[in-house]
C-alpha cells in the first residue's frame, strides 16, 4: 500500500537517483503511443462489429417470409389460408400479403419498373413479423405443408446465421487484436525497462551498497516508465480518437465501412487506454526490475 502511494505521489529524491534513460524513454513513449493508436482502431472495429452483429441478428430474427407458389386460380385461396394459419400461430405479431406494387418494387432492380406482374406466374409473398417470443418455425412448416401445399417458409436462418457469425468473428478479432497489442506493448516496455536496468546496473549496485531497499530502487524505475507509457498512450489514444472521428459517418449507402466509429458512450472507451497502458508498463517494469534486482547481492 505504501509502495502504491509512493508510486502515485512520487519521490523527488528517488526519481533523481536514477539517471536519465535516453533512448529507452523515447522507445517507451513511442511504443505506448503507437499501440494506443492501434488499440483505438481495434476497439472501434470491435464495437462496430458488435453493433452490426446485434442489429443483423435482431432485424433478421424478427422477420420471415412466406412464399406461395400456386396455380393462378388457387393463389388467392392459398394466400388467405396461409394468412389464417399465420394469424393463429403463437409468436407472430403480424402477417401481411405484399401488394402487387410492393412485389414489383422488389423485382424492379432486376426486371425494371414496368414489369407486368399480372401476366407472370410470380409467387405471392407474405411478410411475417415476429413478436418478442418468436414462433416455432418447424411447427409452422408442418402445418403449412398440410394446409397450404404451395407455401414455403423462409425464416432467414440460412443466410442470417453466417452473417451474424461473421460479425461476431470480427468482434472477437477486434478484442484479440487489443490483447495482442497489449502484449506487444508489454514486451516492448519490458525490453526498454530491461535495457535501462542493465545500463544502470552500477547505479543499482551503489544504491544497494548504501542500503537502498529493492522497492525503493524498483519504484524509481517503475514510476518513470509508467508515467511515460501513460503519456505516450494518452497522445496515441487522442490521435486515434481523432482519426476515428474523421472517418465517414454511418450511412446506408456506405454499408459496413462507414459505421466503424464509436457511438454514444462508446466514445468513452478510449479513455481507458492510457490508464491501461500505464498499468501494463507498471506490471512489465515491476517484473523486469524484480528480476534484475534478484540477480544482484
Amino acid at each position: 500500500m505504501n509502495a502504491i502511494l509512493r508510486l502515485v505521489m512520487g519521490d523527488a529524491q528517488a526519481d533523481r537517483v536514477v539517471p536519465p534513460t535516453g533512448f529507452t524513454a523515447r522507445l517507451t513513449l513511442f511504443a505506448s503511443g503507437a499501440m494506443a493508436f492501434l488499440t483505438v482502431f481495434a476497439l472501434a472495429l470491435s464495437l462496430a462489429s458488435g453493433r452490426l452483429a446485434d442489429r443483423w441478428a435482431e432485424e433478421l430474427a424478427r422477420s420471415a417470409t412466406l412464399r406461395i407458389s400456386a396455380p393462378a386460380d388457387q393463389m388467392a385461396a392459398q394466400t388467405e389460408a396461409a394468412l389464417t394459419v399465420l394469424r393463429q400461430t403463437p409468436g407472430i405479431a403480424t402477417a401481411r400479403a405484399l401488394s402487387n406494387e410492393e412485389q414489383a418494387a422488389l423485382l424492379a432492380p432486376w426486371f425494371g419498373p414496368d414489369l407486368p406482374l399480372d401476366q407472370l406466374p410470380i409467387p405471392q409473398l407474405i411478410e411475417i413479423i415476429e413478436d418478442e417470443n418468436g414462433f416455432d418455425a418447424q411447427g409452422l412448416r408442418h402445418r403449412l405443408t398440410a394446409e397450404v401445399p404451395g407455401a414455403t417458409l423462409d425464416d432467414h436462418t440460412r443466410w442470417r446465421k453466417p452473417l451474424v457469425d461473421a460479425a461476431h468473428s470480427l468482434r472477437r478479432l477486434g478484442w484479440i487484436s487489443i490483447l495482442l497489442i497489449g502484449g506487444a506493448m508489454a514486451a516492448m516496455i519490458t525490453l526498454a525497462a530491461q535495457a535501462a536496468l542493465a545500463a544502470n546496473r552500477q547505479v543499482i549496485e551503489v544504491l544497494r551498497l548504501v542500503g537502498a531497499r529493492d522497492t525503493y530502487i524498483a519504484l524509481a524505475f517503475v514510476r518513470r516508465f509508467t508515467i511515460r507509457a501513460f503519456l505516450g498512450a494518452a497522445v496515441g489514444a487522442g490521435l486515434g480518437v481523432l482519426g476515428v472521428a474523421l472517418l465517414p459517418a454511418a450511412s446506408d449507402e456506405g454499408g459496413f465501412l462507414t459505421g466503424l466509429g464509436f457511438q454514444g458512450v462508446g466514445w468513452l472507451w478510449p479513455a481507458f487506454i492510457p490508464p491501461l497502458g500505464g498499468l501494463v508498463a507498471l506490471l512489465a517494469t515491476g517484473a523486469a526490475a524484480q528480476r534484475t534486482l534478484r540477480g544482484l547481492s
Partner: protein, 225 residues
Amino acid sequence: MIELDQVAYSYGGGELLSDVSIRLTPGSFHFLTGPSGAGKTTFLKLCYGELRATSGQVRAFETDMRDLDRDQMAMLRRRMGVVHQDCRFLDHLPLADNVALPLTVSGRDLAQEQANLTELLSWVGLSNRASALPPELSGGERQRAALARAVIMSPDVVLADEPTGNVDWEMSQRLMQLLIELNRMGKAVLIATHDLGLIRAAKSQVQARVLRISNRRLQLAGADL
C-alpha cells in the same frame, strides 16, 4: 557486531579464503594487510554481504547473514559504512548528493542533515567541490568522498578498502583521524591497506589489531609492523 566463524569462500573452483574466523566488536580497530590478490577485498565483501560464504557462518549484529532477506540486508547495510577500492558513485549526481546518498535512500530529511553534510565535506577537504560531478574528481577526491559517504550515517561498522591509496600523506592522516574519532565513539573499524606507514602512524593513536591474509588464511600480523 560482525563475526566470521570458520568461513571459506571459493570462486571458479579455487578456494580464495579458508577457515577464516574473526570478531569485529564495538570499538575495535583492525587493519587488514596482505599481498595483492590475497583476498582482502573478498574478505570485506563477505563482511557486508556482497558475497556469500561457501562454508562457515557470517554473523552481523547477532544475525546469520544467510537468514536475511533482501530488505533485511538493505537495513543491515545502513548500519555499515563501506569504502570500495574503486569508489563507486552515481555519475549523474553532484558530489554532495553522492555523499548524502545513504541519507537519501533511508528517507532522512536532507534539510536537517545539511549541517552534518557541510561539516563532513569540509573535514575531507571537499567543500569547494560539492557541486562537481564524480567524473570530474581526481582519484584522491573520489576516495575522500567515498569515505565521507561511508561515515555520514554514523554507522556501527566502517569497512574500508584502501581508503587512502590515492591521497597524500597529510590527507591520509586527516582521513585516519576521522576514522579514529569514529572508533572512539564505539564504532568498529576495519581497514584493508598496503600502507604499512599508515598502520604504524595509526597505532600510535589507537589500539589496533593488524591482520594479514596469507595462503588463504587470516592471521595476526607479527612484529614486522
